[in-house]
Symmetry: C2
């Protein structure tokens, strides 16, 4: 959502909203979904990674748009089971209960990156489609994933061979370049490695048909990012070059769809001059919706502004309301001079935000309101 959208804020103010509050623009969800589909010229099937934001209104809206889902656990299945859309599982390690429940409900595609995992799948999801998660470069991605997940191409070929002998159906490969990826060549390396696995499998009589290039598509915070079109164009070229037309291209965006749709409104409850300059305390918290600020040690580049205030600005360290010393939302942010009662709008907070929400310190996970066209919808 763009900053300075005074119509929205006026509407909110009319409802005398309490803070903290998350505002989710369903229009923005639609825009991002369509932008992604268009960038890939309708050639890619989109599975929304619901971990980024499993809000039921967002999921229902995406289902209505025709989007499919990527889920990790039986708990996540519960959020989309009734929506009538396709579901795949790309988490390389799952507990047995999740495998059984997902398979019983019709999930057919599962990822793995160890022999142990497809042995579990053979036992608890017999006959399912499997794809190994390849280890690829996560260079220049903000959240690195290659340290935790992934296997080498040669091992993947060997594993698919064994998987087949256990009655599983080799379907393709998947990889993940890391969240908020800033290097297009990571995708090229992943596609090239996928093509190698396809070729080596074909030589063993195993035909693969899916390349799942995962997520990691970056969005604009207050730093530089790459537009999705600048990723999609070379990716399509590489897919054509390495595979021709004989491949299904799958995407698993999470942050790209839900991130830009969210604004977090939080009220200043105290200001003081601290050791290192100006301090502001707000009624929000990293624990009730801004966990990525903690994971990134306060360096997260959310864009923010103070509603109805401009002019002379100062540099603030912004603390969340909890008593916790790690509850720091911004280490340093330029804002107009603050006083208690000011409302700060933090943009780009639709992904990995209230998905992590807890009730630490007796605080509440914020209320959520939705914007659709000119309508403001409050969750009851």
């Amino acid at each position: 959502m763009n900053t300075g959208n005074s119509r929205i804020f006026k509407k909110l103010a009319e409802n005398r909203f309490t803070t903290p509050l998350f505002l989710i623009s369903l229009d923005e969800i639609e825009r991002q979904y369509k932008r992604l589909k268009d960038a890939f010229k309708g050639r890619a099937r989109v599975f929304y990674a619901i971990k980024s934001n499993p809000d039921r209104e967002i999921l229902g809206f995406l289902a209505w748009l025709g989007c499919d889902f990527e889920i990790n656990t039986s708990g996540e299945l519960g959020s989309v089971a009734s929506l009538g859309r396709g579901c795949i599982n790309s988490a390389p390690v799952k507990d047995i209960e999740s495998i059984r429940v997902m398979h019983r409900w019709g999930v057919e595609h599962f990822a793995f990156d160890t022999v142990g995992e497809f042995e579990k799948l053979a036992l608890h999801a017999p006959g399912c489609y499997v794809y190994p998660r390849l280890s690829v470069s996560n260079e220049k991605s903000i959240f690195e994933l290659s340290g935790k997940f992934g296997m080498k191409g040669n091992d993947a070929v060997h594993a698919l061979d064994i998987a087949k002998s256990l009655g599983l159906r080799p379907a393709g490969v998947t990889f993940h370049v890391g969240s908020q990826c800033r290097s297009v060549s990571n995708w090229q390396k992943g596609i090239r490695e996928s093509a190698r696995v396809f070729k080596a499998c074909r030589e063993k009589g195993i035909e693969l048909s899916i390349v799942n290039i995962g997520g990691g598509f970056p969005i604009h915070y207050s730093n530089n990012h790459i537009g999705i079109e600048s990723i999609a164009e070379p990716v399509l070229k590489w897919v054509n070059e390495y595979f021709g037309n004989n491949v299904e291209l799958w995407l698993e965006p999470g942050r790209f769809i839900s991130g830009p749709a969210g604004v977090y409104f939080t009220k200043v409850i105290g200001v003081k001059n601290g050791k290192g300059g100006h301090y502001a305390y707000v009624d929000g918290s990293v624990f009730t919706g801004l966990m990525e600020a903690l994971q990134e040690q306060g360096e997260f580049p959310y864009k923010a502004e103070v509603l109805g205030k401009a002019g002379k600005s100062a540099k603030y360290k912004v603390f969340g309301q909890s008593c916790d010393g790690t509850d720091i939302i911004f280490n340093e942010l330029s804002l107009p001079e603050l006083e208690a009662g000011d409302v700060v709008a933090i943009y780009g907070t639709g992904a990995y935000s209230y998905a992590y929400g807890s009730r630490f310190n007796g605080l509440r996970v914020p209320q959520i309101a939705y914007l659709r066209g000119r309508k403001l919808i409050w969750r009851k």
Copy 2:
């Protein structure tokens, strides 16, 4: 709780427990509470900081033992309002709603560290008792708090003077040496600074009576720590030296009471040989109960063992089940060679654990069971 308590594990196993599971020993809660009271020779009033673990069974049990509570927000008040014990508030910055609700319910003591805060108190908790939070050294504490909270002694005196003129009642001072503090002299500095504030206030005709030395009392993880007796003895000596008998000594332990009482049981769901050695994946997660592992970037020194397994050990990187790259419980831990199905018991996990629990990735906050004497009680 000590490791190797085979009777407990046998009992658990008989109940065929599912993982992840938190076991809370009420006996251990009692032991720690009494040990603290004894160490301070009955001279200190104990307010359990419920943020560390607001579990209703723990709170009810502590109330029954005669313990009072330290709360931060109206949400935390809700957990103890019906228990009939004393409640104080030591969070220096609060939202107005919390102040109003707490005051209406009978909370009389409030902390502050800015002029703005006691102006709020004068308006929304008129006539309440106030104590400034002094800024003290947090040297050698694992979780630093002095960067976020606290004011200088001189400013505190000045502030109490103004507070009095606004109809508030100056009660004493509070300070916090930082969580898991390893330097006894931090308390000495805090007590000395408190005495200075008392003296300067007396000269202005303001009589103070409470020194709240906060929490931060360390517990044993797998690192060195200081026994509570080695803290209490000099603290009592300093209190006598600086104040004589004319002072109420207040404590706000959180971790010290709830931390040692918890064991987190989690099952291995996958193992592999990763880049940096052995990897283990468990069905628990930093997001469903082990947040401090994330806050400390995987360096948290919990003690852990594998149930029913000994012998040759290897070094493991232990990942939580979620898809999140930051979901790392141990960066390096020596454990007997693991295979899927092994249950790992992680000790000292009663504090700041499920207090932060979320439903990220559709995972569940673990079930909780309680141990009291020879009885194992399952929460329905």
